[in-house]
């Protein structure tokens, strides 16, 4: 895995085309294309109100734009959608990824769209930030021959039925592993994690009696299935084996509804429900006909899972603060206390533990955790202070998106007996098996899966537990410990890593795929000289725009580093020698530069070059200096430098040769534009530096490559240039648009020289940007205009949208609409943002 993978995706390539230009959604799997008509649609943004009638028409497609700003992957975005949509139908079609906006269309999923509106058209992402959606209802007409989910599933099932497989003594297995990867599903997202999608699949299979009576097995591996209950559709079938490995089934009791099935074999490994103790037992209870579960004969299951504590006494029950007096009597008890969490099926084991560990400080090791449908239970010993902190919060767990979950403590329910789990001993045993003497490496990746820790929860995301484990490890292995792997432990706080400072032999630290948010968290934590570090897969990686920046910032904290995320990073001789493509002295300059470059150079390269004179001040000064290494000329280029030499104003040139003067005022600049050869600038080769950006003066330096294009007689001629423009304020619009400055060029100093070999190699590698400028604004353009508009007017989103829609996305017209409304006092104060 690479560090690049975690960078925001707008750095992963600039060649992504914008949406909107191509509003025909074509299908890879042979369905009829769908033409989008944004103009005719009803568009909604950050609102919860909409015209209900538009949702009732099933013969229309709705378009959804997701403004992720390059921060989130497609997978994150789809997860966020399905989190909101839950058990409603939702099948995104024609998903297109864009640099800042993704888009797709859906049809006939009224409930799902209602749910999106209910959330005011925003998605909550894993980092709790919001991503806005734009929904255009009625954006395309449905016609026969276009894609729909049932057809897609029918095609997949029919094809796979022709190639049934045989696995482990079961013949005629229908392979539907990862159906998202089937070619037939290339244009549509069918998430079997959503119950209606699995229901649809089961219906498709069950409606064909031939299939139903032929297949003996069903492979549904890796389909993100959360609820297997739709499989009950197969009650009258020949299916004897169902393989549900690597899905997302949380509780064994979810198999309850499959009682009616007459299956012999079931595979469930790789599902969250298998982390629960006795899951084998539980599932067997629901499916009594089962002969084999995860390949284990069900007769053996009884013997393998009996680890628990026998409740010897009813125990003293602590319900809330009123029981505090009796609670304190157990301060010195070394007997077991049972904790009962009455979740009523509303949350998972992971969430329960997370909430508990957010409350308790100090060592806390839940033992014999048992999850069930109504309540989870576990046992603890000798942690009176920790239990007291649970009592301090009223024995209630606060979980997102559900009511408080009450807990009960049952004090002294059993004596401690020989054979009962002892957390510290179990940890030491686990550490010993995970230490490799040869490599001097302690591998604590996914520590909770250690067999030694089967009956005790050692949660490394809990800072105190992590500190305890690391201290134990460094005491035990001393100087033999050079590498610690802590990947995949959901660690968010790195404070506990301070304990590593006593293990001075540690050189390699692997923290991949944890939840560390900020690189700064490491400051003043680790003082030992770490040479290899892996932070891949942590949220902090997203904070960096470029890999270079990431490496530099990490190196500031870990100066001895030679390898980061598996990549060797060489020590730089001097940090002063680093290079950046662009420099902006002020962030506000971004839009200015972007606009100027994309406006000036395309026109300079066009037959309309003279029009640029309008961008120059009355008293402008332009001059050109030129220096070409004659040894770089060849038979094609000799003689082509002369045009530039005649203009060359090099103050260091031979004093006997008269130096041309600067070109002063518009007329002489216009002559220069006419004289200068036809050109093509490679915008991708540009570096830009803005060194001054004030209301009055702007200084922009642009360097890069241009060429005289090839003609019938000549090959192209490439040259390097550096050009510094000074702009002065020309006019200021006062009043409400106080930010709209207009600038004119007062100085333009041009230097032209031969390109270096590297520059020649790297220039004109990308096809030229499309010259036809007059096209529909893209989604990205719209977003940019929207932000500009909002900044200028101070209006809230909904009012900006209104102005833009009235003006059909013409920026100038939108401003006119705003001025008009404002003059007529038709904009209420509440339409403006507070700030």
């Amino acid at each position: 895995m690479s560090m690049h993978r975690n960078l925001p995706r707008n750095n992963q390539g600039t060649s992504h085309s914008d949406h909107g230009m191509d509003d025909l959604i074509t299908m890879k799997a042979g369905y009829k294309p769908i033409r989008i008509n944004r103009v005719g649609s009803q568009s909604y943004y950050q609102t919860s109100s909409y015209r209900n009638s538009l949702l009732n028409a099933s013969y229309t497609w709705h378009l959804i734009d997701v403004h992720h700003r390059g921060m989130y992957s497609k997978a994150d975005i789809l997860d966020a959608f399905f989190n909101i949509i839950g058990d409603s139908e939702f099948y995104p079609v024609g998903y297109k990824e864009g640099r800042v906006t993704d888009m797709f269309i859906v049809r006939g999923c009224k409930e799902a769209i209602q749910k999106l509106f209910h959330r005011e058209l925003s998605l909550r992402m894993p980092d709790h930030k919001l991503v806005n959606l734009n929904i255009s209802l009625n954006a395309a007409q449905y016609s026969s021959g276009q894609i729909f989910p049932q057809k897609v599933l029918e095609k997949i099932v029919e094809r796979q039925f022709k190639r049934l497989e045989t696995t482990d003594q079961i013949s005629n297995v229908l392979n539907l592993q990862q159906i998202g990867n089937f070619a037939e599903a290339a244009d549509i997202i069918i998430n079997l994690g959503s119950k209606p999608a699995l229901e649809l699949l089961c219906k498709v299979i069950a409606q064909n009696h031939n299939i139903l009576n032929t297949i003996n097995g069903l492979n549904l591996i890796k389909n993100n299935i959360t609820d297997p209950s739709p499989l009950k559709e197969f009650v009258h079938s020949s299916i004897k084996m169902i393989d549900l490995r690597h899905n997302n089934i949380q509780h064994p009791h979810q198999f309850n509804e499959l009682k009616c099935l007459n299956v012999d074999e079931l595979y469930v490994s790789g599902n969250p429900c298998t982390t629960e103790m006795n899951y084998l037992d539980e599932i067997k209870k629901y499916l009594p006909t089962l002969k084999k579960l995860d390949g284990i004969s069900t007769e053996k299951i009884k013997q393998t899972s009996t680890d628990t504590i026998e409740m010897m006494y009813p125990g003293d029950i602590i319900l809330d603060d009123r029981d505090r007096v009796s609670f304190t009597m157990y301060r010195t008890s070394d007997m077991w206390c049972q904790v009962v969490v009455e979740h009523k099926g509303k949350c998972t084991k992971r969430n329960i533990l997370k909430a508990i560990f957010e409350i308790v400080e100090g060592e806390f090791f839940p033992c014999y955790y048992k999850a069930s449908r109504i309540e989870d239970t576990f046992f603890v010993r000798c942690c009176h202070d920790q239990l007291e902190s649970l009592l301090d919060v009223g024995l209630a767990l606060r979980l997102p998106d559900c009511d408080d979950i009450p807990m009960t403590l049952k004090m002294n329910v059993s004596d401690f007996k020989k054979g009962h789990v002892e957390p510290m001993k179990a940890i030491i045993a686990a550490l010993s098996t995970r230490f490799n003497v040869m490599d001097k490496c302690l591998n604590l990746e996914s520590l909770h899966t250690s067999p030694e820790l089967k009956n005790v929860i050692v949660c490394l995301s809990h800072p105190h537990t992590l500190a305890t484990v690391l201290t134990t490890a460094s005491r035990r292995f001393l100087v033999n410990l050079e590498e610690i792997r802590l990947g995949k432990n959901r660690i968010s706080s790195v404070k506990a890593l301070k304990t590593l400072n006593s293990a001075r032999s540690i050189k390699i630290l692997d923290l991949n795929n944890n939840l560390i948010e900020n690189l700064k968290d490491f400051e003043n934590i680790i003082k030992i000289p770490i040479t290899e570090l892996n932070l891949d897969g942590n949220p902090l990686c997203k904070n960096f725009k470029t890999a270079g920046d990431y490496v530099r910032q990490v190196r500031k904290i870990f100066p001895e580093l030679t390898k980061l995320d598996g990549y060797p990073i060489t020590k730089q001789v001097s940090s002063a020698m680093r290079v950046e493509r662009n420099f902006l002295c002020s962030l506000e300059a971004y839009g200015f530069v972007d606009h100027f470059i994309n406006h000036y150079f395309p026109i300079f390269d066009s037959p309309l070059r003279s029009q640029l004179i309008e961008m120059y001040d009355r008293r402008c000064i332009v001059s050109l200096s030129f220096n070409y290494d004659a040894s770089k000329l060849n038979s094609y280029t000799t003689g082509r430098t002369r045009k530039y030499e005649l203009l060359n104003r090099n103050l260091l040139a031979d004093p006997l040769v008269p130096t041309p003067n600067v070109m002063y005022k518009k007329d002489s600049v216009l002559d220069f534009f006419k004289y200068f050869p036809a050109s093509e600038h490679d915008l991708f080769s540009f570096t830009t530096d803005v060194t001054i950006f004030t209301d009055k003066l702007v200084c922009l330096t642009v360097s890069g490559i241009f060429q005289e294009p090839a003609t019938i007689t000549d090959v192209e001629f490439r040259l390097a240039f550096t050009r510094t423009f000074l702009f002065k304020q020309h006019a200021t619009e006062l009043g409400i648009f106080k930010n709209t400055n207009e600038y004119k060029i007062i100085n333009d100093i041009i230097f032209i020289t031969n390109p270096t070999n590297d520059q020649l190699k790297m220039s004109f590698r990308y096809s030229k940007p499309n010259k036809t400028k007059l096209q529909e604004p893209t989604v990205e353009d719209k977003e940019y205009l929207f932000v500009m508009f909002q900044r200028m007017t101070g209006l809230k989103n909904i009012w900006c949208t209104r102005c833009f829609e009235d003006a059909n996305w013409d920026f100038k017209k939108a401003l006119e609409v705003f001025i008009k409304l404002n003059q007529e006092n038709r904009i209420p104060d509440s339409a403006f943002s507070e700030s």
Binding site: D617, F626, Y664, T687, T691, T701, S703, T722, F751, M762
Partner: protein, 140 residues
């Protein structure tokens, strides 16, 4: 071009020559004195990395490997008064080759905005680029 402008352009050219002579000999031989050539709140942008304030610029330049500049091309323009509040200001463009310690000789370009402060010329902004600097930027 009127006489006043002609005179100003000539003054600008002479200043550019004198100033760059001083600048490049300082960079190559008396680097610790270079800070003095910048305004207190001057700006240096070195291959796209910005440094503000005289002291920070002095420190940044001291961190660079030893250099040997060979100036080959020089051009300069006066900046019209009203854009710089009547302050006498020149825009200078310089180019040539440079050899940093243990590195091959490479072409560079540099432009300055200098302004008169008392009887001294001071750099308000300084933008330096090695011509093929981008070939050392890793593609992200």
């Amino acid at each position: 071009m009127d006489d006043a402008m002609r005179l100003k352009v000539e003054q600008c050219s002479r200043t550019a020559e004198d100033f760059t002579k001083l600048y490049y000999s300082s960079v190559d031989k008396r680097r610790h004195q270079l800070g003095k050539l910048y305004l207190d709140n001057g700006l240096l942008v070195w291959n796209g990395c910005g440094v503000t304030n005289r002291d920070a610029i002095q420190k940044y330049i001291l961190d660079l490997p030893a250099s040997e500049h060979n100036l080959q091309v020089l051009d300069a323009q006066p900046v019209v008064d009203d854009a710089v509040s009547g302050q006498l200001t020149f825009l200078i463009s310089a180019a040539g080759t440079v050899k940093f310690q243990d590195n091959p000789m490479r072409p560079f370009q540099q432009n300055f905005i200098i302004t008169a402060q008392g009887d001294k010329w001071k750099i308000a902004s300084d933008c330096y680029r090695l011509q093929d600097s981008l070939s050392t930027v890793k593609s992200d």
